[in-house]
Symmetry: C2
Subunit: 124 residues, 2 copies
Amino acid sequence: MKKCACKGAFLERFIQPVILMYLNRENLHGFAILKKLKECETMDYSAIDPTGLYRMLKKMTAAGLLNSAWNMENTPQPRCVYAITEAGKLCLASWEKTLFEYAQEIAALGKAVSESMNPEGQNG
Amino acid sequence: MKKCACKGAFLERFIQPVILMYLNRENLHGFAILKKLKECETMDYSAIDPTGLYRMLKKMTAAGLLNSAWNMENTPQPRCVYAITEAGKLCLASWEKTLFEYAQEIAALGKAVSESMNPEGQNG
DNA sequence: TATTGCCATTAGACTAAGTCCAATATGAAA
DNA sequence: TTTCATATTGGACTTAGTCTAATGGCAATA
């Protein structure tokens, strides 16, 4: 438990909605997404692993959430440019709802933990 | 992506604080924790895997968050009874803080997603 | 011109987390 | 005597995530 979850280590689960969010605004290639994630201020993705991101992009493409196309022009190296699909947009909409539900449930859990540590009757 | 995270599938990550919370109130053996988790109303742990829970308990014990002792009396089968340690209590306190931070960050992400889907200027 | 550094992606090997199936053993109820 | 609930464990497997490293071009720099 070097990286104990209790200190916050698992938010990287939530790269998927961020990727969808970026691609909902504009098409981007993997490395650009990587840079954007590293600069993200809402959450800390500074230590994100490139291999992991590229694999995630492929998985999302395989799942039909993204389309990919190789761009060979105006670029020294070929870039794989990703675009969000209709399914991806639906997924993003689903994420929107789910994220707020998550936030509520996690806050409720936090409250339950608080109460269990300071049982009622502390007010005296 | 059968169980797409966007529909909510990963909250089981948060069994750890729930276990600590239960054990902060009273000592319990694995199976009792299992039953309590299945009846938990704050979050849905109805489908929790027993093997996974027992493994988690051992891991937490190895990490020093819990103590365990076999109870052979007043019970048909021997039971492994778990108790929270001082380190476990600190971990629980850490969880309390972390959970609220998580809740805020996830809500912020949800808000960012909302805004990206409904760009500003919708109010007309 | 040799080297360093940034861009851009991929592969391989590994660890950790989580799931599924099955086994064990006892006691009570049908 | 079969079934159900208790109580725990083991093995095999899948998925996710991390680390290291390789490729290969372009630009700057020493």
